[in-house]
Structure formats: structure tokens, C-alpha cells
């Protein structure tokens, strides 16, 4: 600090010189008509370029805010006009809700921790019980199913990723539910497997796999993935079906936690609840 002060003291005349030269610059280009015109002309082109540069830069820097804004817009859209919302949420409005409110709502959140290299992968989101997130809520990305909430505190929640050997989800292909389980076999972070689809079923490579109506966690019609390979086992009546997940788990950043508004009303009616 002393050295800095000594440096400033020693060079104060130079600092003063620079300051006064700046003032001169303002005087020259502000009060001399000819220089002012030249300056304005030059400044206009420099300003245009710097504005462009600034715009490019700030639009990039602003992406995070834009994402958050988009999330809230999607949430509102999902809440108020599910018909025009995401394609995979379209079925939501088919629910004949007497109060004419959507059965499902989406709570936007950001992934702050995510694994894809373990056998039982999880991800952590930056929203918790303060915004109504609880255990056993579905989590989707803008591409498709991402996981299920395992536990929450006030501000954070941990979700079981689809890439988790404990995750089991009922697939729906060509509007038909297959009561076999879609599982992750811990091989590839973009590939899941459906065990035992009967060879008589009309499924083919490229078919989309969606969530069905057998779960209260996800609205029906949310993409899970696309059939990538149908493997025939010799002497077997079944296919081993490989699915490429819709969600890119390695790039998972923004998600929506699915809130079922009537879960507390529906669950007690279920046979299991008795």
C-alpha cells in the first residue's frame, strides 16, 4: 500500500497530465465545430460497432436469465393453456377436472449436481419444499422424462435419474402400455432397455416411447425415448428393446418438477391405499 502511495506521489504530475489531457479532449471535440463534426462521424461508426459487439456479448451473457424467463413462461403456459403447451403435455387437459384447473403443474428448477457415470445416478435441483416439491414427484426436462424426486429440504431436492438401476417406469408405445419395465442396465448414459416385449406386438425401430396413464407422477405422453434397436433372442418369444433416451443426461441443466394438484385426492381412492 505504501509502495502504491509512493508510486502515485512520485507520478502524480503524470496522472494530472493524463486527467487534464482528457479534459482537453472533451474541449477539443466538444467545442470546436470542425473537430466535433469529425469526432461525431468517427464516433458514430465506432459506436455502431461497439453496440453490435456489446449486443452480441450481452445476449450471450444473458442466456442464463433468458433460460429462467423461458422456464417461467413455459410454466405459465403449462398452467393456463395446456392445449398449446408442450406436445408431451397435451393430454393434460383431457382430465375432466371439476374445478377446471389443470391436474398437473410444472415447477421450474435448475440442476446443480448431476451424475451419469454411476450405477445409481442422481441429480440435485435448486428447489425444495419451499415451493411445494416433495418426495415421489416426477421430474422432466424440456426433452422428456428425467427422474423422480427422492427427498427434499427447504431449498434443494435430490432426484433419482432415469439412469438409475432402481428406476422402473412403465412405457407406452403407439398408445399402448406395456406392463413390462423400462430399466437402465448401466451401460450407456443414453440407452435404456425394455425387457420382454412380445414379438407379436407392433413395434419397430424409430417408434416413440412415452409415459402412460399408469402413473400419477407424470402426465401421459411425456417422451421417454425412441426405439433404437430390437434385439431378437433365439428360441424366445420376446424382443430385447433398446431405447435412446429423449433427455440428454450429460447436458441436463433445466428441469420441471411435475406437481399433481389432486394427488392427495386421488391416492386414497387407490386400491393400494386401503
Amino acid at each position: 500500500m505504501q509502495r502504491l502511495l509512493a508510486f502515485i506521489e512520485h507520478n502524480f504530475h503524470f496522472i494530472l497530465f493524463v486527467i487534464l489531457q482528457i479534459i482537453c479532449g472533451f474541449l477539443i471535440f466538444g467545442l470546436n465545430p470542425y473537430q466535433q463534426a469529425v469526432f461525431s462521424h468517427s464516433a458514430a461508426s465506432v459506436t455502431a460497432r461497439s453496440n453490435q459487439l456489446s449486443s452480441d456479448l450481452t445476449s450471450y451473457m444473458d442466456l442464463k436469465e433468458q433460460n429462467i424467463l423461458l422456464q417461467s413462461q413455459v410454466r405459465e403456459q403449462f398452467k393456463n393453456a395446456p392445449n398449446t403447451s408442450f406436445r408431451f403435455l397435451r393430454d393434460t387437459i383431457d382430465v375432466k377436472d371439476s374445478s377446471r384447473r389443470p391436474l398437473f403443474e410444472a415447477i421450474p428448477a435448475q440442476v446443480i449436481y448431476n451424475t451419469t457415470y454411476k450405477a445409481n445416478n442422481i441429480f440435485v435441483i435448486n428447489k425444495g419444499t419451499d415451493v411445494g416439491i416433495r418426495k415421489n414427484m416426477g421430474v422432466v426436462s424440456s426433452e422428456g422424462v428425467a427422474g423422480i424426486v427422492l427427498r427434499s429440504n427447504a431449498n434443494y431436492s435430490v432426484a433419482m435419474s432415469l439412469l438409475n438401476t432402481d428406476m422402473k417406469i412403465i412405457p407406452n408405445i403407439n398408445d399402448q402400455e406395456f406392463f413390462t419395465e423400462l430399466v437402465w442396465d448401466n451401460t450407456n448414459p443414453n440407452t435404456m432397455k425394455i425387457m420382454s416385449i412380445n414379438k407379436l406386438e407392433k413395434v419397430k425401430v424409430g417408434d416413440l416411447v412415452y409415459t402412460g396413464r399408469s402413473s400419477l407422477l407424470f402426465p401421459p405422453g411425456i417422451p421417454i425415448g425412441t426405439i433404437a434397436k430390437l434385439e431378437t433372442k433365439p428360441n424366445s418369444q420376446y424382443f430385447d428393446t433398446y431405447i435412446t433416451t429423449a433427455t440428454q443426461f450429460r447436458k441436463l441443466t433445466y428441469v420441471y418438477v411435475i406437481l399433481n394438484n389432486d394427488e392427495s385426492l386421488i391416492t386414497p381412492l387407490m386400491p393400494d391405499a386401503e
Binding site: 489531457q21 479532449g25 474541449l27
Partner: protein, 167 residues
């Protein structure tokens, strides 16, 4: 002290009343008043030199309606003067609180300094004045003619000063 103030006023008055209105040629715009900065007392603190240059430049601009141009040139001149004087051995003159004149520091080092500073000042002022439409030929000819004229006037002043001291 009084004689120095009168000397300052005389030189500046000559600049404002005479040299600014010569009208002999479009290429002749001598800036003789800069001798006041060049001959500043050697013991003057650098910060005061900068402030004096600023004040004198503002005054010069005021009389020719060129806000900032002479001020900027005076500031640059005084900084360049500091750099040149650093290369000269002036410890004795500084200790005796002498001004930087031919009589005090010798004709040769003084001429060397004045030559550089006068050319620099004229080039700077005419360059800033014609910014945006610089005609190199006009710029250099004006700088050369005006500098030679200013140097002649400064030489006359210094010669008179030397003669006066010998008497």
C-alpha cells in the same frame, strides 16, 4: 519576481496582439508564447509545471477560440520538456533556482531543447487543428515556416537577454 511577471505579460501580449494577427501568409502562425513554458524556472515542481501549462494553454485558446487545442499542446510540451531536461546535467542550475535560458544553461543545450520543443508544439497544434482533413504538405510547410519564425523571435529574445547580462 515583478520583472518575471512583466516578462510573462509582455511575451503573452506580443503573442495575442501581434503574432496572432500577422496575416503575412496562411503558412505563418507562430506560437512564440511557448518560450514562457520552455524557460520556466528549473526548480519548479513538476505538478506546478503541468498546472502552469494548463493555465497558459487555456489563456492561449481563449484568444484564438480553439478550446482545448493549445491547452493540450502546452501540456504535452511541458511533459516533453521534462523528458529532455532529464537528459541534461542541470543540478547546479536547479540548486541555484535558475530559469532554463541560454544564458543559464548554455547556448547549445538550450538551442537543442528549443528546436525540438518549438517544432513539436507547432506540429501538434496544426495537426490537432486540421484533424479529419489533414493535408500533409500544408501541415509540414506551416509547421516549418511558423517554427522558424518562432525560433527566430525566441533567439532574438535570448540574444537580448545574453547581451543584457554581459553589460
Amino acid at each position: 519576481m515583478l520583472s518575471r511577471v512583466l516578462y510573462y505579460i509582455l511575451i503573452f501580449a506580443l503573442q495575442v496582439l501581434l503574432f496572432n494577427h500577422l496575416d503575412l501568409s496562411a503558412f505563418l502562425v507562430p506560437q512564440v508564447f511557448i518560450i514562457l513554458l520552455i524557460t520556466l524556472p528549473l526548480q519548479t515542481k513538476k505538478i506546478y509545471q503541468v498546472l502552469i501549462a494548463f493555465g497558459l494553454g487555456i489563456l492561449a485558446d481563449f484568444f484564438v477560440s480553439t478550446p482545448g487545442i493549445h491547452t493540450s499542446a502546452c501540456l504535452s510540451l511541458v511533459m516533453m520538456r521534462m523528458a529532455i531536461l532529464n537528459t541534461q546535467d542541470l543540478k547546479e542550475e536547479i540548486a541555484n533556482k535558475l530559469s532554463y535560458t541560454a544564458r543559464n544553461v548554455g547556448v547549445l543545450p538550450f538551442s537543442y531543447t528549443v528546436l525540438i520543443l518549438v517544432f513539436f508544439y507547432h506540429l501538434y497544434v496544426f495537426w490537432i487543428g486540421s484533424i479529419g482533413a489533414i493535408n500533409m504538405y500544408n501541415l509540414l510547410v506551416t509547421t516549418f515556416i511558423s517554427s522558424v519564425f518562432s525560433l527566430t523571435v525566441i533567439a532574438i529574445f535570448q540574444f537580448l537577454s545574453l547581451s543584457h547580462s554581459r553589460e
